[in-house]
């Protein structure tokens, strides 16, 4: 634990135990989403599915990166991950991104993907709001993750016909925002 770092956050007025629980729940959401996206990506097949596979893969890898980036901050603040993987899964901040009943229905697949990203966008916006101007390190990390989650949401939203994402897909490098937290 980073004793003084935790103390500084406490002095700022943040309930550190609540914040740590929130970080653990979001770390659980990231790792479980990585797992569920693995299944979704494997089922993105055929003419329509192949077109989505690349962005689903980018989102999958970046969600795993978010998990990796969150874990050190949890321990710095005196928290820990649950010993039991099932407990960890069940405390996720977002519900499971289950494979739709009909995996060949690309609209259903995209709806699962976009809903998962929207849950994440809400979650990290919440953490940013809680920590802004108080816990600078958690804020910077949550903001970096939020930037990537917003891009994921807009990719899937675009494919659902909700409007242009406004940017291009990743080009050879994942996690442009979170990468610096993983050095």
């Amino acid at each position: 634990m980073a004793k003084v770092a935790r103390e500084m956050v406490e002095i700022s007025g943040i309930n550190v135990d609540e914040l740590v629980e929130l970080l653990v729940k979001n770390a659980a959401a990231e790792l479980t989403t990585y797992y569920y996206y693995t299944i979704l990506r494997a089922n993105l097949i055929g003419l329509e599915g192949e077109g989505l596979k690349e962005i689903a893969e980018a989102a999958r890898i970046e969600d795993r990166n978010h998990f990796e980036a969150l874990v050190p901050r949890i321990y710095e603040l005196g928290g820990k991950l649950p010993d039991d993987m099932k407990v960890f899964h069940d405390m996720s901040a977002c519900s499971p991104a289950n494979l739709p009943a009909n995996p060949t229905d690309m609209k259903a697949m995209l709806t699962v993907l976009v809903n998962a990203e929207r849950c994440a966008v809400r979650g990290y916006t919440h953490i940013c709001n809680l920590t802004a101007g108080k816990d600078h390190r958690t804020y910077a990390l949550a903001l970096a993750i939020l930037n990537e989650e917003i891009e994921h949401e807009s990719w899937f939203s675009e494919f659902l016909g909700e409007g242009p994402s406004g940017h291009f897909m990743r080009r050879g490098q994942n996690s442009p925002f979170v990468g610096p937290f993983m050095q």
Binding site: E18, E21, L22, K25, D90, M91, S92, A93, C94, S95, P96, V121, R122, G123, T125, H126, N129
Partner: protein, 77 residues
């Protein structure tokens, strides 16, 4: 539709197997089966058995999400 006072609402806090109810703008919702309300807690910060009107107005989501859970009653003063 069932009528709840704040005290009666507080009895449904989702702890120890009890149902989890929350109130928003005078309406009471059953969130017991929601993934987001396990053990009567939402995102580590909000507890069931309470009127969450003020909290929800500051949340990173709208009240439209309450359409996903059953409306079961009304909250009276």
């Amino acid at each position: 539709m069932q009528i709840f006072t704040l005290y009666e609402l507080s009895l449904y806090d989702g702890k120890n197997g009890k149902p989890a109810y929350i109130a928003y703008q005078g309406k009471v919702y059953d969130v017991s089966k929601s993934w987001y309300w396990q053990n009567g807690m939402h995102q580590a910060l909000h507890a069931a058995g309470q009127d969450l009107t003020l909290s929800l107005n500051q949340a990173p989501h709208g009240a439209d999400l309450l359409q996903r859970v059953p409306l079961i009653g009304l909250l009276v003063e």
